[in-house]
Point group: C2
Chain length 380, copies 2
């Protein structure tokens, strides 16, 4: 299989943009990525689109609107991991030699569609019937983590404090406001122990990256960022889950990605992980090996995951501050890591970052221990 580089990245603002269409959001991100890569759009051989809730043929609709028509377009859905799974499939297509240049983009528009409850299962709606919405699913994990490992409410809040602090430095972020631990803890209770400022918002936005085969990377000016490893895992039946406070699915995806990249957790310089809720970042950090199992409370408390710390996590502001337009999220993580690894992240730059890891998790625990997890290792 060929090595695959990310040579161009782009994204829109994340936030409430009810007046903009999916097509308009997608167009802006794709044109930005093409411009960044210095590629004309007729070089694109195939495209992958990550989207969860936008209806049918979203990728084709966006590309036809851009007058990039005719080529193979594959729409990929994996709940909150949709964009990351699209990236995995795009990588496979280039690595396998099917196409030399593949566009991967994610787009979502949530602000004008929902009353606040997003479920996976349109048929049975077991999640809403049982009350097992996303915040409730994550609250179960948080409660178990507190019971098993002595994790405190303050430690959970610190994840939000840190990510909002990072988000202030990101001009694309939805919420650019710092909060104190006190403010996070006293914001409205959503699902105990998760308060409002510990839950990401529904956002509108798009992100895009261009993947190029190593054979075409001649010009050092293109500053390639290599996809060194990419792992996917899916959820198992809940009855197989032994420890609700640990993300087995993320550990499986990480193992696959690290093996392919031939790295260990100690090699990671910067990470973007799925902090849809504060506890989500904590269990991701454990599964990715940034600390021992059960020790993610101490990890955030000691500042190790803050900018300037040992392993900065979510320098972009993460889902909590940057926002979470579902299908775009996984692709936007790659946009952030590409900027970090190229040394272009400005005031939120992780100095000397050479290896970055992205992690997304789709789905809650209504029927599964998460439905899909993707871990990607990038390197320069």
């Amino acid at each position: 299989m060929r090595r695959v580089a990310v040579t161009g990245v782009g994204m829109t603002l994340f936030g409430k943009q009810p007046e903009r269409s999916l097509e308009e959001l997608g167009r802006e991100a794709i044109l930005a990525a093409l411009h960044d890569a210095g590629l004309e759009q007729d070089r694109i051989g195939a495209a992958y689109c990550g989207n969860a809730l936008g209806g049918g043929a979203v990728g084709q609709r966006v590309l036809a609107d851009l007058d990039i028509g005719g080529l193979p377009v594959v729409n990929v859905e994996a709940a909150c991991a949709s964009g990351s799974v699209a990236l995995h499939e795009g990588w496979l297509r280039v690595a396998a030699g099917m196409h030399d240049v593949v566009l991967v983009f994610g787009v979502e528009k949530l602000s004008d569609r929902f009353d606040g409850v997003i479920t996976l299962d349109r048929g049975h709606e077991s999640e809403t019937r049982l009350g097992l919405t996303m915040p409730a699913s994550y609250a179960f994990i948080a409660q178990r983590h507190m019971a098993e490992h002595g994790t405190t409410r303050e430690q959970l809040a610190l994840v939000s404090v840190k990510n909002h602090k990072h988000g202030v430095l990101n001009p694309k972020a939805q919420y650019r406001t710092e909060f104190s631990v006190e403010e996070v803890l006293t914001s409205r209770m959503i699902a105990d122990p998760l308060t409002l400022y510990q839950c990401c918002a529904n956002s509108d936005g798009a992100a895009a990256v261009l993947l190029v085969a190593e054979d075409l990377i001649h010009d050092s000016a293109t500053r390639p960022v290599w996809i060194r490893g990419t792992g996917l895992a899916s959820g198992t039946s809940l009855r197989r889950v032994r420890d609700m406070s640990y993300s087995e699915i993320a550990a499986r995806a990480a193992r696959a990605a690290y093996e392919q990249a031939d790295i260990s957790p100690e090699d990671v310089c910067v990470a973007e992980v799925h902090d849809a809720f504060t506890i989500g970042e904590m269990v991701a950090c454990e599964a990715l090996g940034f600390c021992e199992r059960g020790r993610s409370g101490a990890l955030v408390e000691t500042g190790e995951t803050e900018l300037g710390g040992r392993i900065p996590v979510n320098p972009s502001g993460g889902l909590l501050s940057k926002g979470h337009p579902v299908g775009a999220t996984g692709v936007a993580q790659i946009v952030e890591l590409a900027h970090q690894l190229r040394g272009e992240a400005g005031r939120r730059q992780v100095e000397g970052a050479r290896i970055g890891v992205a992690h997304t998790l789709g789905g809650g625990v209504a029927a599964l221990d998460g439905v899909a997890c993707a871990v990607t290792v990038l390197g320069v």
Copy 2:
């Protein structure tokens, strides 16, 4: 890239089955395919699921229900071509050497969800606002075909007559009733010239196939059916469409698949094509090269596409008679062709069939000339 074989196929009955869940339908098709292949489920390395309208994480939900958990699962959406695009992606994964055994399945449940109108665009609903529903889109094509090529209403009706005649021979088909040309023409008008019996129904059902790398095909008893070519194309903007009576998108997908398979249209022994509406089969036959452009009316009239004819089309009954559970349709075509190429199609067997072609088209003409087209060439 490695050669990839279909070694096991399975499907449910197609039809109105409102009492059965997506999970139950998927399970039946997958277990049938595993049984047919003589494989245990722990041999599956990854899975692809084609689904258009079932909500989030459909593939993961079906597999967790089967207790096949943990592995990479990718959900693919391409409107009516969803199952075919899932097959393409599954083929790529095996061909590239990522996994040796990949499950591809499609599942859909429509009977209890819709009031009869299915649209792609949940945001703008431009299709329904303009009246450009699927039957209307195809009616435009039919009108243009009649105007350009002198195609008659009787020729259109003959497609339905033929496919229902075939469907009587298929125990999995939704409608197993023969109709006369007169009956088809006098059934209720849906979108002139398309009458009710020229439109497929909304169905529930699932289909599954197992793809295996050539390295693992030791035993001649597995009767491998090889994927010789697979082409995808997407729609271009309507303003680029020069002739509404011709399916450019299908011609592009067919060209890619035929080139990869190194065949010409004359080599094809049997075909399953996307007859969501009678005119759909006609324009597909032209684009696939079974007759000259504009001559598909004569093709059906002379009996060449009937069982026993020169190039039997839709021996399964097609979407018109077998039914159209959207995500399952493209996979079910492969099920039918595998039976045909193995010589196991019983009373609807195409004698001596060695090469089969499957064609699906997703989407109407509201914004595009179709949104996605997939053509697959199978051979023994």
